[in-house]
């Protein structure tokens, strides 16, 4: 059985291929993996082992464009990454394990990972033993093309260091894998800063915010101070935002003034108001009308679907974007502002001729971190000229759009995972 396994695997082993780029990596972005049946550990349940490997692969997905899917059905030679445990001579491998101590695992570029089952592998956050998660993440790094890295804190250090609580991929490890596979890209349905009111120990109200990016049925919390997403994201919309459409939204608006504090989500021709106290959508509005409601009813003069929207606290208007038009909605008057809709270029003129999204904007995002409004479309964004910008450069047009930049170079590592990895 070992020789048969070795023959199966050796046929599919790919030689290193520098290709034209001069570096070595998988050429596809969705990779399959399997914990082979002959290679289960005797120390953890099979389900525990598979869970840990799912988590390990997901951790690489969270920082790179790669996605991993567990494949338990295809012929073994069709599986991209094969994992197994063994002792001494194992799994048809020519590299013997040495018993307890020293070598705990090894891996080959583009294929196999073997773990020495004479080591005391343990589940995450277990005090003693060797963290299987940490070892798996390290070995997967080799399979993906990373060598050992002699930097304190790197997951690719050759020696094992006991896992502290909250072991995660650090900045340089992210850049190392992105050096091989590129950065994460993609558009978003909406981006917003969620305002929270908290009471300090002294009884005072403090205003805090968190930044959220939403794409289809997933979302990420973006930690601006750390230039990355929250560890473990993305999460399904249903997990964090109860009652809004599971497959995604078009827009988020927070109407925040002295008289009003209301959060709305928009999708298609409908909208919902969100109950921030109870963390779910309201069942009905104050007038007894059930949500979702039609946009055309809640915002006279406007009809869905819309591309995106934002609330401008300067003039207490909601700006809705729909194709090439912008609708300014006067919240107090509950009607469209005079003269609207207008062409987006008239409302947000380009600072540099020709550098403009020209409509069909994905998201309009006011960032409290940057104190600026951004329009996002695809992988690009345009910052809207603010009052400070105009004070410094009076020649800039009001609400002008500064030259575009790339979303993935401003908000980093907002990466998809394979849908099967959303719930481990």
């Amino acid at each position: 059985r070992k020789r048969h396994l070795a023959a199966l695997v050796s046929r599919s082993r790919r030689k290193r291929d520098l290709g034209s780029t001069g570096y070595m990596a998988f050429s596809k972005m969705v990779l399959s993996w399997r914990l082979i049946g002959e290679g289960y550990s005797s120390q953890l349940s099979v389900e525990e082992q598979r869970y840990i490997f799912r988590l390990a692969f997901r951790m690489w997905s969270e920082v790179s464009p790669l996605e991993f899917v567990e494949d338990t059905r295809s012929p073994l030679e069709d599986v991209d990454i094969r994992l197994g445990f063994g002792t001494g001579r194992h799994l048809g491998c020519n590299q013997r394990f040495d018993g307890t101590g020293q070598e705990f695992a090894h891996a080959w570029f583009l294929g196999d990972i073997h773990f020495d089952d004479d080591e005391h592998f343990t589940a995450p956050n277990t005090g003693s033993g060797i963290s299987l998660l940490k070892v798996a993440v390290h070995e997967i790094g080799h399979v993906l093309g990373l060598p050992h890295i002699y930097r304190s804190g790197s997951i690719m250090q050759p020696s094992y260091l006991p896992q502290g609580s909250g072991f995660e991929m650090d900045w340089m490890d992210r850049k190392a894998i992105q050096n091989l596979y590129g950065v994460c890209k993609g558009g978003f349905n909406t981006v917003f800063d969620w305002i929270r009111k908290e009471r300090t120990p002294y009884g005072e109200i403090s205003i805090r915010f968190n930044t959220y990016f939403m794409r289809d049925g997933w979302y990420w919390l973006y930690e601006n101070r750390n230039n990355r997403t929250r560890y473990g994201d993305p999460v399904t919309l249903q997990t964090g935002w109860r009652g809004i459409p599971a497959d995604g939204v078009d827009a988020y608006v927070h109407v925040w003034s002295r008289k009003s504090d209301a959060v709305y989500f928009f999708k298609g021709t409908q909208f919902w108001r969100y109950d921030t106290e109870n963390d779910k959508v309201f069942a009905q509005d104050p007038g007894g009308r059930r949500y979702p409601r039609l946009i055309s009813e809640g915002f006279p003069g406007l009809s869905g679907p819309i591309d995106t929207a934002f609330y401008d606290r300067r003039d207490s208007h909601i700006y809705f974007f729909k194709n090439r038009l912008v609708y300014a909605f006067n919240v107090a008057a509950n009607s469209l502002a005079r003269g609207f809709p207008k062409n987006i270029r008239d409302v947000f003129p380009p600072v540099v001729s020709g550098d403009h999204p020209d409509g069909n904007v994905d998201a309009a995002y006011f960032s409290y971190t940057h104190n600026a409004l951004f329009l996002l479309k695809g992988q690009r964004f345009w910052q809207v000229v603010g009052s400070r910008d105009r004070w410094r450069w009076p020649i800039l047009p009001r609400n002008g759009l500064l030259p575009h930049k790339e979303v993935n170079q401003h908000w980093l590592d907002i990466c998809n995972v394979h849908p099967t990895a959303l719930k481990l």
């Binding site: 070795a6 050796s10 020293q102 003693s128 070892v135 390290h138 050992h148 050759p158 020696s159 950065v183």
Partner: protein, 142 residues
């Protein structure tokens, strides 16, 4: 099963025969350095399978035998390899198999060689990444 009595298996008794050989002297240290590519880079990708004509363990055993028979190895090569290991391990570059070096060598570690003859991208070449992931021409020295 492996015999245990504690709930968390922390008392698992391991047989001596399954214990990895500790690095205790210059002989075993030289084996270590050779195994992980510090003496010379290892062609790791040619190692893998039982039917492969390349047998990493046979080459390794040849080195063991050579050392055991007293065939003089290149001591300069050993010192140089030792210093390289000390350097990447953040140890003082004594070139001597001292306690700190012995401790570092006996830590649990990955079996992949540190010096692979196929490596073209090393930790010292992490540079700027453009949006297509291409490695830009400027390298960054650590």
């Amino acid at each position: 099963e492996k015999l245990f009595h504690s709930r968390d298996h922390s008392d698992i008794q391991t047989l001596t025969s399954h214990q990895a050989q500790d690095i205790t002297d210059t002989y075993t240290a030289e084996l270590f350095l050779s195994r992980y590519g510090f003496m010379q880079p290892v062609d790791w990708e040619e190692v893998p399978f039982e039917d492969s004509p390349v047998d990493f363990n046979d080459d390794f055993l040849d080195l063991q035998a050579m050392i055991q028979e007293g065939t003089p190895t290149q001591s300069d090569a050993f010192i140089s390899a030792l210093k390289e290991f000390q350097k990447v391990s953040g140890l003082p570059l004594t070139g001597v198999f001292d306690e700190a070096t012995k401790l570092a060598m006996n830590k649990p570690r990955c079996g992949v060689p540190d010096k692979d003859s196929n490596d073209t991208v090393t930790h010292s070449q992490v540079g700027n990444v453009d949006t297509d992931g291409r490695h830009q021409s400027e390298t960054v020295r650590r």
